[in-house]
């Protein structure tokens, strides 16, 4: 027995060191996955559109806003930003004001449906970020919108 002890020791120590080194390596190899991108647009949230120089909701906006409200209620981990946009006509200062009123009219409707106001942020981009590039009514109609973005 006594003669075996040094042999055991010589085998035991390198084995443990080897295992320890492997464990270290494994830890660096299995890094945590990168965090998910912070902003995701999920199906269900859709934009609503406005008439020229108006911020009141159109009749065709109601269904989409109900869908959006249901989505927000069902996805409690996401807050939502409502962006107000305008077409390029008129002057940019007035459009910045109009954009905020469009975002607010959409927000107010969703809050009335029971969504907590704290989960909704509004921002106006006025005419600064058009979706469609054209200079005709087809493009303008697309650019007069409240755009919903999930955080």
């Amino acid at each position: 027995m006594k003669t075996m002890k040094p042999l055991l020791r010589t085998l035991f120590i390198p084995t443990m060191l080897f295992l320890g080194a492997c464990a270290c390596c494994e830890e660096t190899v299995v890094a945590p996955p990168p965090p998910p991108p912070p902003v995701i647009v999920l199906p269900g949230l859709g934009d609503v559109f406005y008439d020229f120089d108006r911020s009141e909701l159109r009749a065709d906006a109601v269904d989409q806003l109900k869908t959006n409200a249901n989505w927000i209620q069902a996805n409690a981990t996401h807050n939502v930003i409502i962006e107000g946009h305008c077409d390029e006509r008129g002057t940019s200062e007035y459009n910045l004001a109009l954009g905020e009123r469009r975002a607010n009219s959409a927000k107010d409707y969703i809050v009335n449906l029971g969504v907590a106001p704290a989960r909704l942020k509004t921002v106006s981009f006025g005419e600064e970020k058009p979706f469609a590039d054209g200079h005709n009514e087809e493009a303008w109609a697309q650019n007069r919108r409240a755009h919903f973005v999930a955080e």
């Binding site: 008129g90 002057t91 940019s92 200062e93 007035y94 910045l96 004001a97 106006s124 006025g126 600064e128």
Partner: protein, 438 residues
């Protein structure tokens, strides 16, 4: 005692100020006939700006540069009809005593003659200028301007400024700045340039969207709207120490306009509804000015700060209104045109410029007296003309136009006419604002 003190001390200060700052004013008063010419609106002043005399190769080169600087500077103002000097304007027969031939000047229709000599001493330029009444051969101004060789523009413009003040009794635009937005870098950043478009320099590097730059009357602060935080926010940059204050309240920020050196007004919506507030230069709110459910934007103040013109949709489509800051009483200013925005109050106090979006799609600049009378259209048949802003002397308006394709900065007379492109380039230029200082 206190009352007496209050009355006497400002009086003394004003007198001292006048004696120190306006020795030229006294000279101008003696030559009242020249001021009268302008007041009667009898057209431009017929001026012969003679070539500068200089001895030496370098001196001649500087003199030529200064000839161009002074000619272009005076031409920019459109106050003068610049007449080429007649060949025999100077009689050199007695080289020690060069005589000006006033007969030759009057025969070409000159009312005023300006000429001078350039000398150089240890890197400094001395410009001796003399101005004569051409018909009476009377000396109106004799003054030496000194500066570094690399500062020729300021030397020449100092003379131009004196000449205009002498002949019109009013301060000129020389020394004033224009701030504006350009997309040159791919982002909307703020730039500045001299009154004549010279020396364009980038002031912000937000890599985002900047809007509506406005310099405080003393030029120490720059207010603007920036989207760097993700939403439109009012920023106030101290141009002396570089510190930037912002309005931290939630909601939108729109179109700042200075009331004085310490208060800037802008539209904010901290409680949801958009109202015009007075904001201190540290970004703190001083006072709410409007109280109306509709859109209220684009404040611009009378020179004494007692009245504010602004845009409101309280009657439906946007119109210009004027509010008394003391009583809060509001009067509608514009009645023609369905969409009137972007008011700018003249630094002279009498007029307000604004834009009308017309039924045919054009946007045009109009001016109206502050009491609503005397409406006049300044632009027409030139697509979209936006963002008028008066020069500090009230004689010109800077604005943008897309008449040649992209939106660019233009200037014109505040009475209409003399419309011209100020800045070249392929960029889109918007929202110019002229400083009050000069």
């Amino acid at each position: 005692m206190v009352q007496l003190f209050n009355r006497v001390v400002p009086g003394i200060i004003v007198v001292l100020f006048c004696l120190v700052v306006f020795p030229l004013k006294l000279a101008a008063a003696e030559n009242g006939e020249y001021i009268a010419i302008r007041k009667e609106g009898s057209g431009n002043i017929a001026l012969v700006l003679d070539k500068l005399d200089a001895n030496g190769k370098k001196e001649s080169k500087f003199a030529q540069s200064l000839d161009t600087i002074m000619h272009d500077g005076l031409d920019f103002t459109k106050i003068f009809s610049l007449i080429s000097p007649p060949l025999n304007v100077k009689d050199f027969t007695d080289k020690k005593n060069v005589v000006i031939n006033f007969g030759a000047l009057t025969s070409v229709g000159a009312e005023v003659y300006a000429g001078g000599t350039l000398t150089r001493k240890s890197g400094m330029i001395n410009l001796d200028m003399k101005v004569y009444d051409a018909s009476g051969s009377k000396l109106l101004l004799s003054k030496t301007y000194t500066g570094r060789e690399e500062g020729l523009r300021s030397i020449g413009h100092a003379f131009c400024a004196d000449l205009i003040e002498l002949l019109t009794g009013k301060k000129s635009v020389f020394g004033s700045k224009i701030v504006f937005i350009s997309n040159k870098t791919g982002f909307k950043e703020i730039y500045e340039c001299d009154f004549d478009g010279y020396g364009v320099a980038q002031l912000t590097n937000l890599k985002s969207i900047a809007m509506n730059p406005a310099l405080s009357p003393d030029g120490k602060h720059l207010a603007y709207i920036g989207f760097a935080s993700g939403r439109p926010t009012l920023y106030i940059r101290n141009l002396v120490d570089g510190k930037i204050a912002s309005v931290s309240k939630s909601g939108v920020s729109i179109d700042p306009g200075w009331r004085n050196n310490t208060e800037v007004a802008a539209t904010l919506s901290p409680e949801g509804n958009q109202e015009i507030f007075l904001v201190n230069t540290d970004g703190s709110l001083s006072k709410r000015v409007t109280n109306n459910k509709s859109i209220d934007i684009s404040p611009t103040f009378s020179p004494d700060g007692t009245k504010m013109a602004f845009v409101s949709s309280r009657n439906g489509l946007p119109q210009i209104f004027v509010q008394d800051m003391q009583s809060g009483l509001v009067k509608r200013l514009t009645f023609s045109g369905r969409y009137n925005t972007q008011p700018a109050w003249s630094p002279l106090g009498d007029k307000i410029a604004y834009t009308t979006w017309e039924k045919n799609g054009e946007i045009n600049i109009f001016v109206v007296n502050a009491d609503g009378s005397g409406l006049k259209q300044l632009t027409q048949n030139s697509r979209e003309n936006k963002s008028p802003s008066f020069s500090p002397d009230g004689e010109m308006i800077v604005y943008t136009s897309n008449r040649q394709g992209r939106e660019k900065v233009y200037v014109m007379s505040s009475k209409g006419g003399n419309e011209r492109l100020l800045l070249q380039g392929d960029d889109v230029q918007t929202q110019p604002s002229w400083s009050l200082f000069r």
